[in-house]
């Protein structure tokens, strides 16, 4: 079920001194099953963009088609859209509210109107997929560690089995291990269920090794939209807009300039390692 954004513009505080265009004339097609990274610095419009995809924000101009249907149409079922397009906000652990972990994860499926049996089943499934042990399910979500809370909050959205999963900075504030764990589990659910995943991030290094496609946002516009390799070729321009390519990309560029027979479009450590070994063997 593809999502198509057709010339979407979003302005807020219209008519006041603080009027600001957060998105301007964004056109995108998001086909099924892609793993997409949306990158941009704070204020680039990346969070605003994803909040349009499940109808939390309404475009000032332009429209969005979900599954071929205009989501701003009066007959369009917005509630259904929100169950299809799941959204994990920044610091999602701040939205936990129930008395037990299990109840909290059940909140989404319950709102979907599923029978109790299915709700329970989904909650269990989601919790085990994020690696929360059974014995924790009955404890209060407020007693968990920071990393666990984050995973419970993500499970709360996974339990709704969204066809499209959006995560806004899911690794913010986590330590390196916690970050890798979260990204790995997102990749795992993507592989298993084949859902579309949209990962919003300001960290190039995080995103490069996971996604199929990178959308770079700057000043409310789509600046680049391509595979990581292609996007990182423009590392100089990326730097100008407050982003940077992974360190290994720089290294390989410099090696190439120093006369090494290596590809410069390298984005991960393991790729770089293989390239260097290959070059040394020549």
């Amino acid at each position: 079920m593809p999502i198509i954004l057709d010339h979407v513009t979003y302005k807020y505080s219209t008519g006041t001194a603080y009027e600001k265009t957060a998105l301007s004339d964004v056109c995108l097609t998001i086909p099924d099953g892609q793993f997409i990274g949306i990158i941009g610095h704070t204020g680039s419009g990346k969070s605003t963009l994803v909040q349009h995809l499940n109808g939390l924000l309404k475009a000032t101009e332009g429209t969005i088609y979900y599954n071929g249907k205009d989501i701003y149409d009066k007959t369009f079922d917005m509630k259904d859209l929100r169950t299809q397009v799941g959204m994990v906000f920044q610091y999602p652990e701040h939205q936990l509210f129930e008395t037990t972990v299990f109840e909290d994860v059940s909140f989404g499926p319950k709102n979907q109107g599923l029978p109790k049996k299915d709700v329970d089943l989904r909650a269990y499934e989601a919790l085990s997929s994020v690696g929360i042990p059974q014995e924790v399910c009955d404890s209060s979500p407020f007693e968990l560690s920071g990393g666990q809370k984050r995973r419970v909050a993500i499970a709360g959205v996974l339990a709704m089995k969204p066809a499209v999963l959006i995560l806004d900075e899911p690794t913010a504030g986590l330590d390196p291990k916690g970050r890798d764990e979260i990204l790995d589990l997102i990749q795992e659910t993507h592989r298993r269920s084949g859902n579309t995943v949209i990962l919003v991030s300001h960290s190039m290094e995080d995103v490069a090794s996971y996604v199929d496609r990178i959308i770079v946002m700057d000043g409310g516009k789509v600046k680049y939209d391509d595979t990581p390799k292609e996007v990182f070729k423009s590392y100089k321009e990326l730097e100008e807009i407050g982003l940077a390519a992974p360190q290994v990309t720089y290294l390989m560029k410099e090696l190439k300039e120093a006369g090494w027979p290596v590809k410069s479009s390298v984005t991960t450590v393991s790729e770089a390692r293989d390239e260097i070994i290959k070059a040394l063997k020549k």
């Binding site: 929100r82 939205q95 509210f97 909140f107």
Partner: protein
């Protein structure tokens, strides 16, 4: 949206009103409010209108900005006006379904509306032209005699200024949590009042948890910066009366005298 709430927000500008001592502005606001409830005749209201308009112009705060504070109470205003129109006894002018519309009713509704609007305009003007810190400083200083009877004036003032600082942050947070729960299918709009109240739980619990976490963090940050109550504290901007403040006090006295004189004169004529 929630972002548009202006009460308690400061509008930076370089005007005579902005640079007044907050104590002057506090007293002036108090006198102004009392004067609003003293009068109900056309001449007095006209006099107050002129005074208010003069202050608004001097303050350099855009008129629309002041009036935006009215949005939040418009329904209350309409209700209050309706009650006044229909329920004030007096000479009926006409009748809508068993309800008499009286001359007195219309008059008292009009006076009430003007009072409410002026009240909001006047008080917003004070908060718009005074930084929250200056405002609490002013309160702290004006109320300091109460310290003698063990009222923790400094602590109250500090709490107020912190509350003012955190209102915009908590509003933003509410917006965010609301969206996050809506993304999980929460419904904050439809249903009966009881259902609506119940539906607020997923919003209120995280909001309280977050407010407590923030309070805890802030208390620690304040301690780390050597905060230990009002004792031995100095001020970056200590309150000191300037020439302008004396002029303002004279004008304020003139205003009060004006209101009283008009009141006496109109009373004796009517």
């Amino acid at each position: 949206m929630l972002r548009d709430i202006t009460i308690g927000q400061y509008y930076p500008a370089d005007s005579k009103i902005h640079s007044l001592d907050p104590r002057v502005k506090l007293l002036a606001t108090l006198v102004y409010i009392i004067s609003l409830f003293m009068v109900d005749d056309v001449f007095s209201l006209l006099f107050i209108s002129v005074a208010l308009a003069a202050v608004i112009v001097t303050s350099k705060v855009p008129f629309t900005y002041i009036m935006r504070g009215l949005h939040s109470i418009i329904i209350l205003l309409i209700f209050a006006a309706a009650f006044n129109i229909f329920l004030t006894p007096g000479i009926p002018i006409f009748t809508i379904w068993k309800l008499n519309v009286t001359k007195e009713g219309i008059k008292s509704a009009a006076v009430m509306m003007i009072r409410m609007i002026y009240l909001i305009a006047g008080t917003s003007l004070m908060t718009l032209t005074t930084t929250p810190n200056a405002l609490t400083d002013g309160l702290e200083k004006s109320l300091s005699p109460l310290n003698k009877i063990n009222v923790p004036v400094h602590e109250i003032a500090m709490m107020m200024s912190i509350a003012l600082r955190f209102i915009p942050i908590l509003i933003e947070e509410t917006d965010k949590i609301m969206k996050a729960q809506m993304a999980r299918g929460a419904d904050f709009e439809s249903g009966s009042i009881i259902k609506k109240a119940k539906n607020m739980v997923p919003l209120l619990v995280p909001l309280f948890v977050s407010a407590f976490r923030r309070a805890n963090d802030l208390a620690m940050a304040m301690e780390a910066r050597c905060y230990h109550g009002g004792e031995g504290r100095t001020k970056m901007k200590p309150l000191k009366y300037q020439k302008g403040d004396a002029v303002a006090y004279v004008l304020l006295a003139a205003y009060l005298a004006g209101v009283i004189i008009i009141k006496i004169v109109t009373n004796s004529i009517l």
